[in-house]
């Protein structure tokens, strides 16, 4: 198997795909937003329960490919209990890693923690939208506008 494939479908990602964390509807959600990729049908709803400025709880439900599902699952574990601004900063960092120029190294990958497992997505341009989908939905939910985010009309990638 090619090393890029090994990197993309590593054990941690396959595990989150098979046993997604924080999966299901959040009973006391204060905000939620949908993320939809009309090209492949990936469709997730991200629920958040805010306590002031803190993401007290977060979950997601829906369906999609292994990359989008694992990314959503890992995102929920990463942002649960963080402040809104921290979550947004993490999204920026994550986005810059998965959309990076693959010929350049990555600085401070450690900041991403387990999310760093998705760094290999950058080798697969067609799959960057899969990895980013849940994050765009979270971003929308945190802004509380509840807008459905589509990978095809937000310029999201």
């Amino acid at each position: 198997m090619s090393s890029e494939l090994n990197e993309l479908y590593q054990q941690l990602i396959l595990d989150h795909n098979k046993s997604p964390r924080n999966f299901g509807k959040l009973e006391h959600a204060t905000n939620h937003a949908e993320g939809y990729n009309p090209l492949c049908g990936d469709h997730f709803t991200v629920f958040v329960e805010m306590d002031g400025d803190v993401i007290k709880d977060v979950s997601f439900q829906g369906s999609g490919c292994a990359i989008s599902k694992a990314s959503a699952s890992m995102m929920t574990t990463a942002v649960k209990g963080t402040k809104k601004a921290e979550a947004e900063k993490l999204f920026e960092k994550f986005h810059s890693v998965v959309t990076r120029d693959i010929h350049k190294g990555i600085d401070d990958l450690d900041e991403l923690g387990c999310l760093g497992a998705l760094a290999g997505v950058a080798e697969f341009p067609a799959r960057i939208k899969c990895a980013s989908l849940a994050w765009h939905a979270l971003h929308s939910a945190l802004r509380s506008d509840g807008a459905v985010v589509s990978t095809e009309d937000t310029g999201a990638n």
């Binding site: 198997m1 090619s2 890029e4 494939l5 993309l8 479908y9 396959l14 090209l39 492949c40 049908g41 990936d42 469709h43 369906s63 999609g64 490919c65 292994a66 990359i67 697969f124 067609a126 799959r127 899969c130």
Partner: protein, 424 residues
Amino acid sequence: MKPSTEILTKEKGTGAETSFDVARVREDFPILAQKVHGKPLVYLDNAATSQKPQVVVDALTKYYASQNANIHRGVHALSELATYEYEKARGKVKLFLNASDSREIIFVRGTTEGINLVAQSYGRKFIKAGDEIIVSAMEHHSNIVPWQLLCEQTGAVLRVIPMNDSGELLMDEYKRLLNKNTKFVSVVYLSNSLGTINPVKEIIKYAHEAGAPVLIDGAQSTPHLAVDVQELDCDFYAFSGHKICGPTGIGVVYGKANLLEAMPPYQGGGDMISSVTFEKTTYNSLPYKFEAGTPNIADTIAMGAAIDYVHGLGLKNIASYEHELLAYATEKISAIEGVRIIGTAEKKSSVVSFVVGNIHAHDVGTIVDREGIAIRTGHHCTQPVMRRFGIPATARASFAFYNTMEEVDKLAGALLHVKEIFGS
């Protein structure tokens, strides 16, 4: 052009008899010799677009290097040559479809534009509020949306022929849908996402009994099945050049002359008029009435070269070889545990759509791509079909006459690899 019989050969003693010298044919396609991710390219996305033989690439180069001029207006030698070559291509399409007159061959950008032309020109004139238009449950979006637009504009209603779990149209339901309000029927000949070959001759017959004209979406059928528009008795037939080994951006809509005569122009501009004053413009005769502006001359001529090429191989030989490929691929792919083929109609051609357990089609596509195998993953512009089968997407291998049994083996091997990665 070699007569088709010259490429007929028999592989003896292998048990796998074939009447098609695929190794020879592959030499005509330079792109097939390349490697992708370090592996020989296995191109199984022919329903999206076919590859181009060298003769088509040469026709394009020759046109731009030695024949380029605008057509139908110059008296100079080059313009006359370009016009001659362009109209010669129309003659080739006429023979290819067995139309009764080359005036019935309208050049458009592709199947999509052909359907839109008919919906807007025929539809806006002859279809009114309360009229019914019938399409089928397995249409490509390009044979749904133009009719929905027409319905919005006119107040007509869209009716849909349902299908069974194998992906076959329910003909009894179709007959029930036909009534005095049915004013148009538009159906696909060969489904791009299921591979079903629809009984279009029967569909046309019943529609005519109800007094409705029929358009056949030939985007997928044209490169795989011999088509005779007079024998089918279809009123319109649309196809794309790029799916029959020709260039992108060129296609054809055939229409019966009496219908085309009665239809208003689709677009206005140069070439489609016979005289223009600010008070009144009279339109040109067929087919030019529907070809406003400078057309896609180069690609039309190259599509003519593609038709010559395909005709030289013989549509019957192509269909028979592709049938062997389909049978072998169906056997190999369905033998893999957990794989479910979507579209199991009795009459099928060249398409195997499938899901691998609960592994998403995009993951399947990414993994086999690294083996050099190009397949399509997604909804294939047929979202209603996906909904009908309760799946978000399929992986689709679609074959052409230059694919081989070995390539089918490689796909099957790659699918085992997908399952291995996902531990299923």
